[in-house]
């Protein structure tokens, strides 16, 4: 009656292997499809020229700049808040009703659709605080959006630091702050950076929250109070309004390649930090 272990083993390998294969193939297919459609238009001039005729002609230079500046702004705002919250929750408070409520709150925040963040950002930052459509409105909105991710990943990373390290640090006469700075945070760094990269990835790809807050201006922003159009918003508008399918795919290809580049360089950076330490 029982299935021989050899068969069940082979069955498990087949099922799990297929699942992995399908996942990887879908990923490769999407990337290959976009690159195949988009790469032909990606030339140096496409990257460095200003768009002409609403993006029908010319390049995407200002949208690249906006896609670089906006995540940086969001990260600069979200990292201190997020890591600070994570340190507070893990090192400065004991598990209690309050921490459970905070954690539940951040989880809820993580589940809110980005369009809601966009709407909130529009009402609060753009109109109520009179920041207008601007990089700073967009940056603040995106910061709120990625905050839960950063808090949760940082918290996990901090909890994973062996408690003996803390005990050793305290036993050597360190204060709590010193222990956090010298022992806890350096050891949690890989996890914290992972959370940051996830955040950057979400910011770069985000459209709904950005279109309402940073606006759609095709001019090159000179200050963070200027409106600007990111690559993903540009792609959305080109495709939605039927302005230029070729340029839409070209923008998408650049977007995918830059996300890839960011992940690779983050991976390389982590590798470098770890090898320096051990």
């Amino acid at each position: 009656m029982r299935i021989p272990p050899r068969w069940s083993q082979a069955g498990a390998v087949a099922i799990l292997g297929t699942a992995t294969f399908v996942t990887v193939m879908v990923l490769i297919f999407i990337i290959a499809f976009i690159l195949q459609k988009g790469l032909p238009v990606v030339r140096p001039s496409f990257l460095l020229d200003f768009p002409k005729d609403m993006g029908k002609e010319g390049g995407i230079f200002p949208t690249i700049i906006a896609s670089i500046v906006l995540p940086i702004l969001a990260i600069l705002i979200a990292m201190p808040l997020g890591v600070g919250t994570a340190v507070y929750l893990t090192e400065y408070t004991r598990e209690s009703r309050l921490t459970q409520i905070i954690r539940f709150g951040t989880d809820c925040l993580a589940g809110i659709p980005s369009i809601i963040f966009g709407l909130f950002g529009f009402i609060f930052f753009v109109t109520t605080l009179k920041m207008g459509w601007s990089l700073i409105s967009g940056g603040l909105t995106l910061a709120l959006m990625i905050l839960p991710t950063i808090i949760r990943t940082s918290e996990e990373a901090i909890r994973a630091v062996p408690s003996v390290y803390r005990e050793v640090s305290y036993s050597l006469g360190a204060t709590r702050l010193r222990t956090v700075r010298k022992v806890v945070l350096p050891n949690a760094l890989p996890g914290i950076v992972t959370g940051m990269m996830l955040g950057i990835g979400r910011c770069i790809g985000e459209t709904a929250a950005v279109i309402f807050t940073a606006g759609v201006s095709l001019r090159l922003p000179t200050t963070i109070f200027d409106s600007a159009r990111t690559m993903s918003v540009h792609f959305y508008i080109l495709a939605r309004e039927g302005i230029s399918t070729e340029n839409a795919y070209g923008t998408a290809a650049v977007l995918i390649l830059s996300v890839l580049l960011i992940n690779l360089s983050a991976y390389g950076m982590m590798h470098w930090i770890m090898s320096k330490r051990s």
């Binding site: 390290y165 005990e167 050793v168 036993s171 050597l172 006469g173 360190a174 204060t175 051990s278």
Partner: protein, 257 residues
């Protein structure tokens, strides 16, 4: 100051009871600890040896479910009174843990972690501290050419001696050792014992061990703990040759534990 206190008691522990949540781990312990001696604390696993040790530098405070009553005096001062400076206490009462735990930084940085916290910045002074303490821990010759490499690359025995050096760098008065040789080979163990025998002229050493032979070898006095109670306490020779309690006799002759 160390000279003056040499004639007095270093630690006085009176009616100490400790609890982790509902479990009482130490029951009515009273013990006087003499300076410049090695006190061996023996007993089977779960007898409260480690909890006892960790009350002396208030490291149990890190556990939210820890409670205690009774009094502990260090040089006549109650270390559990409110507004007592715990950071200062931990500098005076250093600790070596059961498993070697070098912090994930270089050998040099591990040793100067404590001194830096005390505000010593002068690099020649730090260099001197590193050399002296590593020599006292019998580690200097093995690592002097690679002080800047990661402490995680050392062997277990070397790591434990590094942990000893790191404690010595605090210039403490008391050194607590929690089964420091439990994971070490006989040669590393011998080196640690050798270092301790020399160090007791300067420090008061409290040494928890599972190994009764080791306790007999290096302890001036020995305390035997069982199920959270202090069964017997006295000069090592006396405790090992004419134990007063039947349970002590059974433990040291290897009938249980």
């Amino acid at each position: 100051m160390k000279g003056k206190s040499a004639s007095l008691l270093k630690f006085q522990i009176q009616n100490l009871n400790c609890f982790f949540g509902p479990n009482q781990v130490l029951k009515n312990i009273s013990i006087d600890i003499l300076p410049n001696q090695i006190l061996s604390v023996i007993g089977p696993a779960g007898s409260g040896k480690t909890s006892f040790l960790r009350t002396l530098n208030r490291l149990n405070d890190l556990f939210p479910e820890f409670r205690m009553d009774g009094k502990i005096f260090l040089d006549g001062e109650d270390i559990y009174r409110s507004n007592y400076d715990v950071v200062q206490l931990r500098r005076r009462v250093g600790m070596v843990f059961a498993l070697p735990v070098p912090l994930p930084m270089s050998i040099y940085e591990n040793v100067v972690y404590g001194p830096r916290l005390m505000g010593i910045r002068d690099s020649t002074r730090l260099d001197k501290i590193v050399e002296n303490t590593l020599k006292s821990a019998f580690l200097w010759d093995e690592v002097k050419d690679r002080l800047k490499t990661s402490a995680l690359r050392l062997s277990g025995g070397q790591q434990q001696r590094l942990c000893l050096a790191r404690v010595l760098a605090l210039d403490p008065e008391v050194i607590l050792l929690d089964e420091p040789c439990s994971g070490l080979d006989p040669i590393s163990t011998a080196k640690i014992e050798e270092a301790l025998a020399l160090l007791k002229t300067k420090y008061t050493i409290i040494f928890v061990t599972n190994n009764t032979k080791q306790a007999a070898r290096i302890g001036d006095r020995t305390a035997f703990f069982l199920m959270g109670e202090l069964i017997e306490y006295g000069p090592t020779e006396q405790l090992f040759t004419v134990p007063q309690d039947k349970r002590t006799n059974e433990y040291i002759t290897g009938r249980f534990g």
